[in-house]
Subunit: 179 residues, 2 copies
Amino acid sequence: MRKLRHEEISRPSMDEAKLLPKHPVTVVLDDVRSVYNVGAIFRTSDAVRIERVLITGITATPDNRGLHKTALGAQDSVPWRYMATAGEAASTLKSGGYTICALELTDAPTLTTRLPHSAFPVALVVGNELTGVSDPVLKQADYALEIPQYGIKQSLNVAVAFGIAVYDLVRIWRKHSQP
Amino acid sequence: MRKLRHEEISRPSMDEAKLLPKHPVTVVLDDVRSVYNVGAIFRTSDAVRIERVLITGITATPDNRGLHKTALGAQDSVPWRYMATAGEAASTLKSGGYTICALELTDAPTLTTRLPHSAFPVALVVGNELTGVSDPVLKQADYALEIPQYGIKQSLNVAVAFGIAVYDLVRIWRKHSQP
């Protein structure tokens, strides 16, 4: 086998991408502290072609220089918006017909692979590295999504957990929506 | 729903974990440049309970201070070893019966969800952030694993891609190996 050269990798252009349908997932960043994590989440959001990133609270926006370095341009291809709080973002999305899914360990977990197709469109809320998803979001959450963990530590890195979860969600959507 | 407190999250202790069977995957880090990525990969490797991390070339080892900060202790629960080159690591693993899987875009891709169960035990090779998996590994690779990407950029962050891929592999293993 042979590694593909950059020019051999087929990707839509920025203009083409704007015409392509997005997978019906919006991610809400609820006080994500690390610019590095926000950048990685933008790259994943571009790769998996979801609707938008809602940035809330203390989370860095693409105006932040460090984010440019880690997002590697994905902040220009993924629509984003800032809102003051994740609770406000969740209630706006909920009014708009979104199912609120918190990526959080709770007493009522649903595996990321088991979300029903009827739940789409989905707002996937990713929380702070230390304190997790905020209470105002959890109060409105329809599902708390969980990734099975078998190790001795208590958590995956937030950008990694988001990557695993959003790919699982998009697979559920595509399985039921594609020919 | 209610967020779990730390003490409510059920995890094995370090001693218990040593007795639990590992999922038959070894990850090879082939010149991974960022300490942050190596730390996140250790955390994921703990969470998904795989056999070990083989660190090669310029990849930081757990002696690196920055790695301690990002691995958050996972470097103590996941067995690891340093080898000079990823090519050497791959040939040692191949002699030991491992299937060599490069996480890389090639002209002969296999989706991470489609690896046959008969491929286990698996050596999953993750490459440098800029140049990808090295040629000496690709020459020995049985599979080049690919994560579908729908965006305009050409790649996921390496720690995120590893997380998605290793969870897919472990699900394949568990689906066919668990009661």
